[in-house]
């Protein structure tokens, strides 16, 4: 758990970067820090592993004030990933990834097992990449190694500063998916900086929206999208926030909210799986692939048909209905 308690940061020259931040990152959750450039995301992140000093207030890591901990020891227990991967060009992939375990004095067998496990996790062949150097890898592969390196000594906490920010959209989306998959398996406590609201909505258990070093709203993605607390949040999440929020619901959420009759009318109506997001469902309908879609669960059972009307009703019920 990471707790920020009335944290402030003033840089030299009286630059106020962080203003009275109170915030808790619960165990096993991924919290996304988001906000416009220069709002203090990186600063807040770097105060946790003490790459920046804390001007006032305190940051507790599992209940202990970080300033009372040994910096070096503490950092080795926190995974750190940055945008420009920060891989050491003079070391092989294996040396890069096993740097912290090596500093911690792990034995050879343990390091090898860990390397193989992590490479599996990020979907790269351990034997093929072991002896290669960072510059022999693509940007996406380098960033995967950066993430795996942060996971190497199995730290309970991870700090990630726009880890996928430098990648092109397709690779970025793929790495986001992969990382979500990994997080489901490893359940780390993660503070993750992003400047992309779509990424935040997709990845975060919760989202912190910062502006000029102050927390504007700290909520689940659905709350942020559906109920922006003020005009700034509303503007930041964008006028298509309702559409964005649809990606947070699946077809299953929809058919659970209504009682629908199974549809057996026509055999050539297209089906849609219950795990599909509503945003995809909308585009399917709008693209006129069909004016109705038969909902199918993972066992192949028919749960009735999905129409534009139904989606609209759901929107009113779930999202707009709660407003005001």
């Amino acid at each position: 758990m990471i707790q920020f308690d009335n944290v402030n940061k003033v840089y030299e020259g009286d630059v106020k970067a962080i203003n009275n931040v109170d915030l808790t990152v619960p165990d096993g959750e991924m919290v996304i820090l988001i906000g416009p450039s220069g709002c203090g995301k990186t600063t807040l992140l770097r105060m946790v592993n003490q790459l920046e000093t804390i001007s006032s207030g305190s940051i507790l890591l599992n209940g202990e004030d970080v300033t009372t901990l040994d910096k070096i020891e503490m950092r080795r227990k926190i995974g750190y990933v940055i945008q420009s991967n920060g891989l050491f060009p003079n070391m092989t992939i294996e040396q890069n990834m096993m740097i912290v375990p090596q500093l911690l004095g792990w034995d050879r067998a343990k390091k090898r097992d860990r390397f193989n496990y992590l490479m599996d996790l990020i979907g790269l062949n351990p034997d093929e990449f072991k002896k290669r150097f960072p510059h022999e890898l693509s940007g996406g592969q380098q960033q995967r190694i950066g993430v795996a390196r942060a996971l190497a000594a199995d730290p309970p906490v991870m700090l990630m500063d726009e880890p996928f920010g430098a990648l092109d959209p397709i690779i970025r989306a793929r790495l986001q998916e992969e990382f979500l998959q990994i997080q489901r398996e490893v359940k780390k406590t993660i503070l993750f900086v992003s400047h992309d609201i779509d990424e935040a909505v997709k990845m975060g258990d919760k989202i912190v929206l910062l502006r000029d070093g102050e927390v504007m709203q700290y909520d689940t993605p659905a709350e942020i999208l559906n109920h922006p607390k003020n005009e700034f949040v509303n503007e930041f999440v964008g006028s298509d926030r309702v559409l964005k929020s649809m990606s947070l619901y699946t077809v299953k959420d929809l058919y659970k909210a209504f009682t629908l009759k199974p549809n057996f009318e026509s055999k050539d109506i297209r089906t849609i799986n219950e795990d599909t997001s509503l945003r995809v469902a909308i585009s399917m309908i709008l693209n006129q692939e069909a004016d109705q879609l038969v909902i199918e669960d993972n066992e192949g059972n028919n749960h009735g048909s999905l129409t534009m009307d139904l989606l609209e009703q759901f929107l009113h019920k779930e999202i707009k209905g709660q407003e005001g």
Binding site: F88, N90, M91, P134, G146
Partner: protein, 249 residues
């Protein structure tokens, strides 16, 4: 066009080697190298003096310049860096003969003055290259290292120095090659070396002394240059060669 270019290059190469071969044949036929084989003892003595001056000063310069370069690039002393770099740049515009003469002004005639001059003169390129090499490590990479819990010493040892080694060796090479030439002037401050024969040749208008002194000094400089270029190549970590290629592409 391409074959024409290749052929031109080949012709130029052949002409060059022919000229070099012609020079040596001419030199030998005129007995211009005769001092070397007529007084081999003296030749070896002068060569020994020459090498001693170069390596004593070069070695001392490495011992001082590399740690100094490390020192000024530490965050706490960063503010001294521009000053050191400026002095190193400026110092290298001062001709070596002037430095040698100034050292003689301090220590008088003798080997010590030559070693002092060459030492001071070698400091500059080694220092300059050490600083450039250490500075070439990406800030983000160092930041990542710090964030992962490497101590400053570990960052220096595992990341910065491996990245700077090539540049440091290039600095040592530059220093040694310049020193070999300056050591040939050491005769002027009474420090011996192969310069003795070169200056004897100039004074007596005796070409055999000139060639017997100048050609070995030239070969020594070229050999040291090639040796250190080879060292640079084999000591560069493979990952860094790839990194450089990636940056150039």
């Amino acid at each position: 066009m391409d074959t024409f270019n290749k052929r031109t290059a080949l012709v130029v190469k052949i002409l060059l080697w022919t000229a070099i071969a012609a020079f040596f044949i001419w030199g030998f036929s005129q007995g211009m190298f005769r001092q070397i084989y007529e007084q081999p003892g003296l030749f070896l003595e002068l060569l020994g003096e020459h090498v001693l001056i170069i390596f004593a000063s070069g070695f001392a310069a490495v011992l001082i310049a590399v740690p100094l370069g490390i020192f000024v690039t530490r965050p706490a002393f960063r503010r001294t860096e521009w000053f050191i770099v400026t002095v190193a740049n400026l110092g290298q515009t001062i001709p070596s003969l002037a430095v040698l003469a100034l050292a003689m002004g301090v220590l008088g005639i003798g080997v010590e003055a030559a070693i002092l001059a060459l030492f001071v003169y070698s400091l500059l390129p080694i220092l300059q290259n050490t600083i450039a090499g250490l500075d070439s490590v990406d800030e983000n990479t160092k930041d990542a290292a710090r964030g992962m819990g490497l101590t400053n010493l570990q960052i220096l040892w595992k990341v910065e120095l491996p990245n700077a080694v090539v540049s440091i060796i290039a600095g040592i090479r530059t220093a040694l090659v310049i020193n070999i030439g300056t050591a040939a002037l050491a005769y002027l401050v009474g420090a011996g070396g192969l310069g003795v024969w070169i200056f004897t040749g100039i004074r007596l208008f005796d070409n055999s002394y000139l060639i017997s002194g100048a050609v070995p000094v030239t070969l020594l400089a070229i050999a040291v240059d090639l040796l250190f270029r080879y060292l640079e190549r084999v000591l560069t970590p493979k990952g860094l060669i790839l990194a450089r290629e990636a940056n150039e592409a």
